[in-house]
């Protein structure tokens, strides 16, 4: 299992080398969106309208951060459960999204869309929210301010820690990690 430092936007050659279980430290711009924002983004695509950010090569982080204390760009900011975004993710992937960060397994439809579009899904550590917040350099709401914590934010991150949970080859760490453990236990 390798360790990589990657810059966003993600390029195909970055993604081609990633395998499940690899540790990745992401730097650059990532965008936040949860359920309500996803619904609006997908509606824009369906209506043929422009998205509030360039989705080509983009990474979306599923998070609703806590409010920032004075002197900090953001409050605690760990991942939320990803399956709630499964109905929307394939449309975004088909439009150029290259990475998603969240927690918990993805549906077959999302995994297929990752394979089809050379994209990855990163698992961040749920509940390690203060630690993750320290990797955020700046945060700015760029759309849907009315959604409060669920607004779309542009984050600049430095060495954001995550693990590859689904690679572009269709592998799923949520299945294989558990299977490996069970195999090891039986030997």
């Amino acid at each position: 299992m390798a360790e990589y430092r990657l810059e966003t936007p993600l390029k195909d050659e970055d993604i081609e080398k990633l395998k499940i279980g690899d540790t990745v430290y992401l730097s650059g711009v990532i965008y936040t969106a949860r359920d309500a924002a996803h619904k609006r983004l997908v509606d824009l695509i369906k209506d043929g309208k422009e998205l509030p950010f360039d989705i080509k090569g983009a990474v979306i982080y599923y998070v609703g951060p806590a409010p920032a204390k004075p002197g900090y760009p953001i409050g605690s900011a760990g991942p939320t459960t990803s399956y709630r975004m499964d109905p929307y993710a394939p449309v975004l992937l088909d439009n150029g999204l290259k990475g998603m960060i969240g927690k918990g397994p993805r549906s077959k439809e999302v995994i297929d869309a990752m394979v089809r579009n050379k994209a990855v899904y990163f698992a961040a550590t749920g509940g390690a929210a203060a630690l993750i917040a320290l990797s955020v350099v700046s945060a700015e709401v760029i759309a849907y301010e009315d959604l409060g914590t669920e607004a779309v934010r542009k984050l600049v991150v430095k060495d954001f820690p995550c693990i590859v949970a689904n690679d572009m080859y269709g592998n799923d760490m949520y299945k294989e990690g558990v299977e490996q453990f069970i195999k090891r236990g039986k030997i």
Binding site: P67, G104, T125, I163
Partner: protein, 281 residues
């Protein structure tokens, strides 16, 4: 009769919700440290290491352990010789939640209506309050803010007596298995058996707040807790569901008598970021 001004409740609640969100209970911390030592897979170890480091950062910077600072749940034991003065009991609790969540930079995670409008209430009220009248003239407040990820993986099942203890155990193990990485494992598994439909769920939630290592006082149920913990950790779900030895830190069962025709069983999961703080007034 002892008079307690409700402003004391407000102040206590405000401090409890902040402290519960910043400071991990010591028994959970110790148990996670042990899990870190026991794990052999690289991803499990690195996840647990991040979780432990996160405790330190939260404590030092007074930043919440998790951004999901939860719905504010309180179990309040009120001595029957207490007389609250100076205002409304529930309003005072909600005022404490409001102040604590705003001044403590905690996330406001409640919507006003569950289905149709879902507009944020902006101050994390209303709280969920379970008052109980007990002997004496003290008031004990247990604050247990609870995030959505783990709560969403809970279930109540009205089982049959014929399902027996095997049926109960299969249901609990299956519930944890289906939850996978979603409730942020390592989890604590609360199991409530008996009572009626809603009481079983309440028992399951209360079970979550026993201290790690504290077995049920009934030796038969204590054995079942141990067996369930072994079966759950043999699933291999591991930290954050990416595989490993530590799927659950503990399984706690609470039970009570029930109707001859019924056997309600509830499972409530708590994530490793267990928020729990109490005070006695």
């Amino acid at each position: 009769m002892r008079d307690i001004n409700v402003s004391e409740l407000t102040n206590a609640v405000k401090k409890l919700v902040m402290d519960a969100n910043y400071y991990i209970p010591k028994d959970i911390r110790d148990s996670l440290e042990k899990a870190y030592k026991d794990e052999t897979s690289q991803s499990a170890k690195s996840i647990l290491q991040m979780i432990l480091k996160n405790h330190d950062i939260s404590r030092e910077k007074k930043m919440p352990l998790c951004q999901d600072t939860g719905v504010a749940v309180f179990f309040i034991d009120i001595g029957q010789d207490v007389h609250f003065v100076g205002g409304d009991f529930e309003d005072a609790i909600n005022e404490g939640v409001r102040q604590g969540y705003i001044e403590g930079y905690l996330r406001k995670s409640l919507v006003n209506d569950p289905v149709i409008h879902r507009v944020n209430t902006k101050d994390n009220t209303p709280a969920i309050i379970y008052p109980r009248i007990v002997p004496g003239e003290k008031v004990k407040i247990v604050a247990a803010p609870k995030g959505g990820g783990a709560e969403n993986m809970s279930e109540v099942k009205m089982m049959k007596a014929a399902d027996g203890i095997e049926g109960v155990m299969d249901f609990v193990v299956e519930r944890v298995k289906k939850s996978g990485g979603n409730p942020c494992p390592p989890v604590i598994v609360g199991v409530g058996i008996g009572g009626d439909f809603e009481m079983s769920a309440l028992l399951a939630k209360k079970a979550l707040f026993r201290n790690i290592g504290e077995r049920n006082s009934d030796p038969e149920y204590a054995e079942i807790e141990k067996e369930l913990l072994n079966r759950i950790n043999a699933l291999g779900i591991g930290p954050m569901g990416l595989g490993g030895k530590t799927t659950a830190l503990e399984v706690f069962i609470e039970y009570m008598p029930c109707h001859i025709a019924s056997m309600p069983v509830a499972v409530n999961l708590n994530c490793h970021a267990t928020r729990h703080k109490e005070i006695i007034l």
